[in-house]
């Protein structure tokens, strides 16, 4: 695990910035810089767009077997994140979930982004966003 890998995508990982192809409207997340991964436009013209902090679960799994430094059970979802402006297409992100259990998850469940330390790279914490079912939606405040 190397630091530079995480430095490269810091803007998206920490601030939910997506990149909209001005040719087809696809919102890349994480960032694609020169060619569009949907329409193939090359060179493509991408504009940074701020994504909303709430999205919906498109699909998910709950993983039980993972390398030692990732806690289990670990829910992972494909999350559709709309643009903060309400315009254009939503981005689609793979995201780890936190404070969320299988029983709370379904296709269509609303989740919100939370900033967390994911793991440490040597002695340095690597911070990024995870998703969680909003506390207000949880029955009886159960975690």
């Amino acid at each position: 695990m190397s630091g530079p890998r995480y430095e490269r995508t810091k803007r998206q990982d920490q601030r939910l910035v997506g990149f909209e192809c001005q040719s087809c409207g696809w919102v890349s997340f994480p960032e694609e810089k020169r060619t569009c991964k949907r329409c193939g436009d090359a060179p493509a013209d991408f504009e940074a767009v701020q994504l909303a902090e709430r999205g919906t679960v498109e699909t998910f799994v709950v993983q039980q077997y993972l390398p030692e430094d990732i806690e289990t059970p670990q829910p992972v979802a494909v999350v559709s994140l709309p643009q903060a402006s309400g315009a254009g297409e939503a981005a689609r992100a793979y995201g780890l979930l936190t404070e969320t259990h299988l029983a709370e998850l379904d296709v269509g469940t609303e989740v919100e982004a939370r900033f967390r330390e994911l793991f440490s790279d040597g002695r340095r914490p690597i911070n990024s966003l995870k998703f969680a079912v909003p506390r207000a939606s949880k029955a009886g405040g159960e975690e």
Binding site: Q12, T59, V61, V62, Q63, Q64
Partner: protein, 383 residues
């Protein structure tokens, strides 16, 4: 100006945990089995070879590894690596050389030692990126399709499990399969959860193996056999690692593209396929592949499972598939071709289906960090 290429022989070893065998041992054994099973074949007949491996164990190396293991010195040998479609793409490349007239007799060998170093398998999938990939393993990528397929089409958990039940029922009749046991839907559902909604028996085992196939021009093919099998069509598609951020949550577009091209080249439709060996790395993969290959309409894969048994109208994975036979990546596609070859010649033993004329072989592979980035489909025809 091209000509047809024909499969004239195959050689295979038992798939399984082969800790006692080196990479060289696997290659050598598959090659010797091929030499012994094709009448009149001598090493000097082989003009060129294609070698499929992703070399997880770090022993596969270049074409020289195959030259060393087989004694095919001074032969042009090309190593092919194309994710889980490695074996089927090695076969395709060898066939293209025969079709182009660049080789009259071409060898294809796929091999993989999957158990020597499995850390890389899970590590690369699980740890690479914060968002796309951090904590996302192969069972997760495919499991996410299962979750969505159930939500969108009403596919049941039991229908997904039925794929594994079917393939294990076939695998106990197939002598080279790694996992020789039968299981019920309850067994699948009661096996440990790997990545909800998939359980252990929804996943293919980690398996060592090797397989060889021999291709020849029509003229040379007749020297070796009276029943060569024609390579009638192929399709290959390399999609983006994250084409439009995985817009297809319930299917694999690369398979659809590869199948369409293979059908067009072969001049057939999905309805003409009599037997198929498809990529069932997970039970859900095969179920979705029925739809991607056009065996049934979108959303009907769950119901189609019962028609894919050995005595069904479109038998799928008579060899037990990856779920039972195992998935030594470089060997997988070659072994699927070998099984279709035997099926079309009526030599498939206890898993023989009823007189097939057209057979299909399919792989789908994952790119760096996404599902279904590469797919290869080959169509074979009885002559």
């Amino acid at each position: 100006m091209t000509r047809d290429a024909y499969v004239v022989g195959s050689g295979i070893i038992e798939f399984g945990e082969r800790y006692g065998d080196s990479f060289d041992d696997l290659l050598e054994a598959a090659y010797l089995d091929l030499l012994g099973s094709v009448d009149g074949l001598a090493p000097e007949d082989i003009d060129a070879a294609w070698y499929g491996t992703i070399d997880i164990a770090g022993e596969g190396s270049s074409g020289s590894a195959l030259a060393h293991a087989t004694g095919l010195f001074e032969t042009p040998i090309t190593r092919v690596e194309n994710a889980c479609a490695t074996g089927s793409d090695a076969f395709r490349n060898a066939s293209l050389a025969v079709q182009a007239g660049a080789a009259d007799v071409a060898l294809v060998i796929g091999a993989e030692k999957m158990l020597d170093d499995t850390a890389g398998l899970i590590g690369s999938a699980a740890l690479e990126r914060l968002w796309r990939g951090r904590g996302v393993t192969m069972p997760a990528y495919f499991g996410m399709r299962a979750t969505r397929h159930m939500a969108e089409y009403g596919t049941t958990r039991d229908q997904i499990a039925e794929v594994s039940v079917k393939n294990h029922a076939n695998g106990v009749k197939y002598p080279y399969a790694h996992q020789q046991f039968e299981c019920s839907v309850e067994d699948v559902r009661n096996s440990p959860t790997v990545s909800y909604p998939l359980n252990l028996y929804d996943c293919c085992p980690v398996t060592d193996g090797a397989c060889a196939v021999l291709l020849a021009s029509e003229e040379r093919a007749r020297e070796f056999t009276d029943a060569p099998v024609r390579h009638a069509g192929w399709g290959l598609s390399a999609d983006s690692f994250q084409r439009g951020s995985d817009l297809a949550l319930t299917n694999f577009p690369a398979t659809r593209q590869a199948a369409e091209r293979a059908y067009e080249r072969a001049g057939i439709t999905a309805a003409d396929v009599d037997v198929a060996e498809v990529h069932d790395c997970f039970s859900i993969t095969e179920l979705i592949t029925y739809e991607d290959l056009g065996f049934c309409a979108d959303g009907e894969g769950g119901a189609f499972v019962e028609r894919a048994t050995l005595d069904g109208d479109t038998p799928v994975n008579p060899s037990g598939g990856l779920l039972s036979k195992g998935h030594p990546i470089g060997a997988t596609g070659v072994a699927q071709v070998a099984e279709i070859f035997e099926q079309l010649r009526g030599e498939a033993g206890d898993v023989q289906v009823d007189a097939p004329a057209v057979g299909l072989q399919h792989n789908i592979g994952i790119g760096r960090n996404a599902t279904g980035a590469v797919s290869c489909v080959n169509v074979l025809e009885r002559t």
